[in-house]
């Protein structure tokens, strides 16, 4: 699975996710990636999110939307909300991660696996590419 989230100079947010799914999937199996609110979400009032992981659990958690809801209803910052959403996925038995940006341009990674292919940058000079946890 791949994905991107962005905030532009006008303060607008967007998210996109794309995937080939699982090796050997059948019966028209669909994971969270194309399901709005599970693997993909964007709302200028809060955040944009793209997820990757064990899709069935991200679907059940409505994981991407959880980040939005925690920010708007609980007042959490982006990183806290992102980590909480991944924790909810983990509580259901799933693993994976997500990327997010917020309306103020902050960005966040959260995952409970040993790694996630990821990169981010912004207009202040933040510039990261990482694979493994702890990088």
């Amino acid at each position: 699975t791949v994905g991107a989230v962005a905030r532009d100079r006008h303060g607008h947010l967007a998210a996109a996710t794309s995937t080939g799914g699982l090796t050997g999937k059948r019966w028209g199996r669909i994971g969270d990636s194309p399901v709005i609110g599970a693997g993909t979400w964007a709302d200028d009032r809060s955040c944009a999110v793209s997820a990757t992981g064990s899709g069935e659990f991200f679907l059940r958690a409505a994981a991407a939307h959880v980040v939005d809801q925690r920010m708007r209803l609980l007042g959490e910052d982006l990183q806290t909300a992102a980590e909480a959403a991944v924790a909810e996925v983990a509580d259901l038995g799933g693993d994976g991660g997500l990327i997010a940006v917020s309306a103020d341009g902050a960005s966040a990674f959260a995952f409970n696996t040993r790694g996630m292919y990821r990169a981010r940058c912004d207009s202040t000079g933040l510039d990261e590419i990482a694979i493994f946890a702890g990088e």
């Binding site: 996710t17 050997g24 990636s33 709005i36």
Partner: protein
Amino acid sequence: QIDWSLAIHGGAGTLSRKTITPDDETAVRAALAEARGAGVSILADGGSALDAVEAAVRALEDDPAFNAGRGSTVAYEGHFELDAAVMDGRTCAAGAVAGVRTIRNPVSLARKVMQEGPHVFLAGAGAEEFASLHGIEPAPDGWFEVERRRRQWDKFRKRKSGWFDADVKYG
């Protein structure tokens, strides 16, 4: 003050320095840099977040290192079934496609569904028909196939049951 911001991912899973060769790591980091650059060039020029995420994901879809577009995993019957979604934070407009088999960049089809379709989510043959009617680029023959994914599928078929996502456990 952050004027613009971009983050991308290429999947998560059981990644470690034992499971990824140095050559693979170098290739993945280069691919991430290229995809990030595709999005940043748009944002730095004052372009929209929507254009930036589409450009970044298209670059990742075209790179065989990731499980999306070219390099996707192989489904049970030996074919490819791709899913994608786009959401615009300005309006909460959204578009999604699932189970498409012939579209080079499913993310662009999802965006077309969002912007020109009467529905949010299209699947299978109907999504393919919508793509054809709206001039979405098809994939060349054999575009999605990469040797590593076919080997994973062969391994899967020998198991005779279940499903799995081999090297990158998920994503």
